[in-house]
């Protein structure tokens, strides 16, 4: 069964900490995505990557950075965590033709910043 695995299901971090969220996929997908999901706001795209070392800003990149050193791994970095970054973070991957093959999502990481 194909998988997108997020390293942590729940995280609690302190304000100002540097936070790493890790995502690994085993499907040899070119595209990888990071979303955050908040009540009433749906899924909002933070960053995506269509190849190793390539990244593009999504709708809400402020306060975040990403790293993709290997095809299977896409990391989301909160440089200095703030309480307004408390959210559910979802990683997804896809072939280049997302409209045809669709996204595979991970189970999510619920991050709480205190």
């Amino acid at each position: 069964d194909v998988k997108v695995t997020q390293s942590s299901r729940y995280l609690v971090k302190r304000t100002g900490e540097k936070v790493f969220l890790e995502c690994v996929q085993d499907m040899d997908h070119e595209n990888m995505f990071w979303y955050r999901q908040d009540p009433g706001l749906g899924l909002r795209l933070i960053y995506f990557s269509y190849d190793v070392k390539m990244k593009e800003k999504g709708d809400i990149p402020e306060g975040y950075s990403v790293s993709r050193e290997k095809k299977e791994r896409f990391s989301l970095i909160l440089e200095s965590a703030s309480t307004n970054q408390t959210s559910m973070y979802l990683c997804a991957s896809s072939y280049p033709n997302s409209a045809i093959y669709g996204y595979t999502f991970g189970s999510g990481t619920r991050l709480t910043v205190v």
Binding site: V4, E30, N31, F33, Y35, G40, L41, G42, L43, L45, F48, Y50, D51, E56, M88, L90, C91, A92, S94, P96, N97, S98, A99, I100, G102, Y103, T104, F105, G106, S107, G108, R110
Partner: protein, 113 residues
Amino acid sequence: LAKTTQPISMDSYEGQEVNITCSHNNIATNDYITWYQQFPSQGPRFIIQGYKTKVTNEVASLFIPADRKSSTLSLPRVSLSDTAVYYCLVGDAANNAGNMLTFGGGTRLMVKP
């Protein structure tokens, strides 16, 4: 990217058929229509996709009229476990690097006993 509009929420009862309609008036020739389902505390999962007419799988049916400006997801005989948020997405089928889909707010379906 074509914008989609769907109801914010719907209620139903177990055993009923549920139809969720999505509007996508500016859909382009190359666009496909895809529906995702999301349970609480989980990531969305693909349930069905189509280009025109009707598509059916073990989970749902998707009806797309000739003008393709809307689509209807049909869930036959829903159960409590179908309570979820359903997202309608429209995306370009071109095989471009970085091709991505845009999620809207979805429709929150509540199935009652």
